[in-house]
């Protein structure tokens, strides 16, 4: 406990409270990923890219906590999460397959002061997402649209197969109607007949060099660790400074 010159202890922040959240609406984005729209009275809002802790409690008091990215543009009292089912997971099967509108859980946050984007920032933005790593990046895209920002945004979104693309219609529509937003999708395992790029792991040629924008972009990379390691290596080879690259990783290491 530090003491100020005047001898008074600085005020301690109170703990972030757990807030009651009620499922208002939900839909499947893919066979394994579901968006959950939650009403959260008392939620003050957040920055695009941040996440929340979710607490599930069973009838007998057993609890499980997990962390999920917020998918929606910031909004007081409301948030959308997109959860992809993990095969042997504890929380995600409930959230993706069982939870119904009207059911409740608790959230605490917002968490994460690093992997976030503010619409007042002037630099171009490069988003690199692997699989469900697109979720916090989508929050940034939605926030850019909501705030009317004009900064160049480029999303490079890699998925194994076309059926696993999350937000497919919204991304297609936004990329057609939003000046300054570019969306590149690529497939690592199997693609589509009319896609020229053969399926394969994210390569150097899939990413823009640091000179693609007038000033170096802020870079956000999110996905499984192997994807993030590969992407950040290519990005640095393309001239992007390590200090400009923010990463968020999930899942086990290989």
């Amino acid at each position: 406990m530090s003491v100020t010159a005047a001898g008074e202890a600085p005020p301690r922040p109170g703990p972030m409270p757990w807030l009651r959240a009620r499922l208002d609406d939900a839909w499947l984005e893919t066979r394994v990923a579901r968006t959950l729209v939650l009403d959260v009275p008392g939620w003050a809002g957040n920055d695009a890219g941040q996440h929340v802790d979710v607490r599930l409690t069973a009838e007998d008091g057993y609890t499980a906590q997990r962390t999920y990215s917020i998918a929606s543009a910031p909004e007081p009292g409301r948030m959308a999460l997109t959860v992809q089912r993990v095969g042997d997971g504890e929380a995600s099967p409930y959230l993706v397959e069982e939870m119904r509108p009207g059911d409740e859980l608790e959230v605490r946050g917002p968490i994460g002061g690093w992997f976030r984007w503010d619409a007042a920032w002037p630099e171009p933005v490069l988003l690199v997402g692997g699989g469900s790593g697109v979720v916090p990046l989508m929050a940034m895209i939605r926030e850019r649209v909501r705030a009317g920002s004009r900064v160049p945004f480029h999303l490079v979104y890699s998925v194994r197969t076309p059926d696993l693309v999350i937000y497919t219609n919204e991304l297609f529509a936004l990329s057609r109607t939003t000046p300054g937003l570019r969306v590149d999708r690529l497939y690592s395992r199997a693609g589509l007949p009319d896609v020229a790029r053969p399926p394969g792991r994210l390569g150097r040629d899939d990413l823009p060099p640091v000179t693609a924008t007038a000033v170096p972009p802020r870079v956000y990379v999110c996905g499984p660790n192997g994807f993030v390691e590969n992407a950040t290596r290519h990005l640095q080879d393309l001239g992007h400074d390590a200090a400009d690259i923010r990463t968020e990783r999930f899942g086990p290491s290989s």
Binding site: D103, E104, T247
Partner: protein, 199 residues
């Protein structure tokens, strides 16, 4: 009383007393880093040690290897909720690396790439803490903080700075990278001190 989530059952395993509140056991070893993985060649590796009086010295990799090391089996707890039991490491106790710490009370730990984290000095020299350079019998992989990382198993794992490059002793506590971004100043998993204001 928590809010009950209708239909949630959860995994009914016997609670392992080694798992702190809010954590779940993880078999794999997830990687969490705020930026790209640093790659530090051993011939360029340095550990800069700065006393609270401003005097400093610097260890090379050979200097570190010349110090007596220990084999460690311990549990680690990441603030993102996973706990990994019975991990095995090799490292040099921090108290051995630091030697005489004078009247300093805090440490600000530095990593290659600019990451920092702060700890009370007692947690590094009076509790078990190491400069770890092997994991599972092999050189510590860069993704997990190799060549050498701090290992402070009794605190959340963000305190165990990867790519260790410096330990700066101080009279005053100075928040590090995550501590300035809303995470708890101390980070005791058993008191669930995840974020500023907790416990």
């Amino acid at each position: 009383m928590n809010v009950v989530s209708r239909g949630f059952v959860g995994r009914r395993r016997d609670r392992d007393p080694r798992i702190p509140p809010g954590q779940y056991p993880e078999r794999d070893f997830p990687v969490l880093s705020a930026g790209p993985t640093a790659n530090v060649p051993l011939d360029r590796w340095r550990l800069d040690l700065t006393g609270a009086d401003g005097t400093s010295r610097s260890l090379s990799w050979a200097d570190l290897m010349a110090l007596p090391s220990e084999r460690i089996t311990t549990d680690i707890h990441c603030v993102t909720k996973w706990t990994k039991l019975d991990t095995t490491w090799r490292g040099v106790p921090v108290r051995t690396v630091l030697g005489d710490v004078g009247d300093a009370r805090y440490a600000l730990v530095h990593s290659s790439g600019g990451y920092t984290t702060n700890l009370p000095l007692a947690d590094l020299v009076e509790r078990d803490a190491w400069v770890a350079f092997e994991y599972d019998g092999r050189p510590l992989h860069p993704e997990h903080g190799g060549p050498a990382r701090l290992l402070v198993p009794h605190l959340y794992f963000w305190k165990s700075a990867k790519w260790l490059s410096g330990i700066e002793l101080r009279h005053q506590d100075t928040p590090g990278f995550w501590e300035r971004l809303g995470y708890h100043d101390y980070g005791d998993p058993w008191r669930e001190q995840r974020y500023a204001g907790d416990g």
